[in-house]
Amino acid sequence: MIASYFVIIPLLSGFVLAMSGKRNKFAELVALITTSLLLFLSVLLFPLINASGTIFYQLSGWKVPYTISLVVDNLSAFVLFLVSLVAFFSTLYSIGYMRRFSSLSNYYGLLMLLIAGLNGVTITGDLFNLFVFMEVSLIATYALVAFQGEAEHYEAAFKYAILGSISSTLILFGIGCVYSATSSLTLMQISIKSAETPVLYLAYGFFLTGFGLKASMFPFHSWLPDAHPSAPSPVSAMLSGVLIKVLGAYAMIRVFFMVFQKSSLVLETLLVFGAITMVVGAIMAFGQNDIKRMLGFSSVSQMGYIIFALGLGTPLGILGAIYHMLNHAVLKGTLFLDAGAIEMSEGTRDLEKMTGKSDQTVYVSTLMASMGISGVPPFGGFFSKLVIIMAAIYSGKYIYALIALAVSVITLTYYLKMLKKAFPSTGDAKIPSSMKSVLIIMSLLTLITAILFIPSIREVTLDKVVDCVTNREVYSQLFMAGGN
């Protein structure tokens, strides 16, 4: 029953907000209550899963091949926690940041729909339902990208919507192929049946292209640096922080590692294109002057790390990918929120025109997050990159390890450039206290994530997620056992 709350609560508050008209205070209150409730519930999931195993919930009173099921295993719980964390801080930040816009209830309503879609993708146990929730979150995203209502925002949203609809069509084609090959849409049943019929290469191709487009993998990365900076800053944090991870990386992990049999062709593709993605993103980010656009290219580059680590296919590589998902969500969330604060006090996003009016708090938190994302030791980002590079070395891919190391250095360079240009002196422009507190907590989180690397803590957190990914049998046995 707790699994279905993750979709019901944000949908409910989304529709209540859509009805509420111009009551801005009410909209903020409802959104804040919803996201904090979701955060609380997602934390509550961990002891529940520890105590009673995977939560398996069948909707509408039917049994599993005939109905939609919700499955919360360790991987889902982890990603749910990620979504709820970034969503909570984005909402808290929005209260200070979004006051200058009108029609706030529309904004919060769309944000709630986005969260509902992401949660749905994360917990669903049905292939087609995954597609539906993906579309729910994407359509909310298209509207949010265009929310600020300037010419270039509409342009970015249009570009994003067209590419998104192409990738959705490809995914639906893939779903058709899978259904015709296995005559099932329940993910767990497919994972049993696909062991018998390994010839699903057509579906692999469709899914790889579709999810790759959503994860901004190399040939399809061009929409991200347009779309993510065009959204309001808290939404950019949501998009870069969790949306590309849930729709891209999480969906890839679920489909290619847990449902289909491990195919060396897919892994090879992920490895090569992930490596290209991280190089291309880093090189493109180097030449940018728009601060949020640079962060967008940096997201492309970091997604390259995650895809590359998945392509290694070893348990250590998966650990690196999952750990980097967490770190990147926190770090890129912080950086986009910082960029919003800088934009608010400077009045511009152009690095050349900045005069250093920003607050001391913004400076410190930007510094911490930049250091974290470029992999400087005490921060979480360092350890996840370390794990990824170690995984590459252990599986004998020395050249790739070298590339990952080099990209990390390039990352440090362009973040240092950003820091130098954005903060020449310490200013004293005031930002609202709700925004300030979010920045402080988020930048502390960039340090706290490093704790997960300590082996005894890692065993009870990240290693469980990795176990969940690598043990396909456990996932398919859920189907045999039945639920409720």
Binding site: I8, G14, L59, L110, V132, V136
Partner: protein
């Protein structure tokens, strides 16, 4: 012929006065028989919305349906979705999973049977009818400063239970 810029010619207006009721009734018919024959909430809602759009096209801005009912349509739109969710949640109180059919199912092929499904169809009809008409209004009578893209995105949610 075009002395007034409101709507189409007299012939169209006169015919519309008769046909619009038929279209509306047909939409409701499709919705009510949704659990027995092809149709259901989505199709019924579309046809209901078409009847209003028909009226709007024939009579123009000064027609019987005023353009200022937008807030009411928004409320209708959201209440359809909330009704759907509410029926889904009501199953919790009967001790069943989300969206379970907790009402007596009646006899097969009866008009009043199938438990909650006709109510869900009604909710979908509200949602779809209001949303399609809102999209039409937003795109047709485009006002400056209004965001046209906000109402239609929520349309997908109601089918997720199926």
């Amino acid at each position: 012929m075009a002395e007034k810029h409101s709507g189409m010619t007299l012939i169209v207006k006169t015919i519309t006065r008769f046909t619009v009721w038929l279209i509306l009734l047909y939409g409701i018919f499709l919705m009510i028989h949704g659990h027995l024959t092809p149709g259901g909430g989505f199709v019924g809602g579309l046809v209901v919305a078409l009847s209003f759009i028909h009226m709007k096209l024939a009579f123009g801005k000064k027609g019987p349906v005023k353009g200022s009912g937008k807030t009411f349509l928004h409320a209708l739109d959201s209440s359809g979705a909330l009704l759907f969710l509410g029926i889904g949640v009501a199953a919790f109180f009967a001790g069943l999973p989300f969206l379970s059919n907790f009402l007596p199912k009646g006899k097969l092929f009866d008009l009043f049977s199938a438990g909650t499904i006709p109510i869900l169809n009604f909710a979908i009809m509200l949602k779809v009818g209001a949303a399609i008409f809102l999209v039409f209004i937003a795109l047709n009578l485009y006002e400056h400063g209004s965001k046209a893209g906000n109402s239609e995105d929520s349309k997908n949610e109601k089918r997720e239970g199926e």
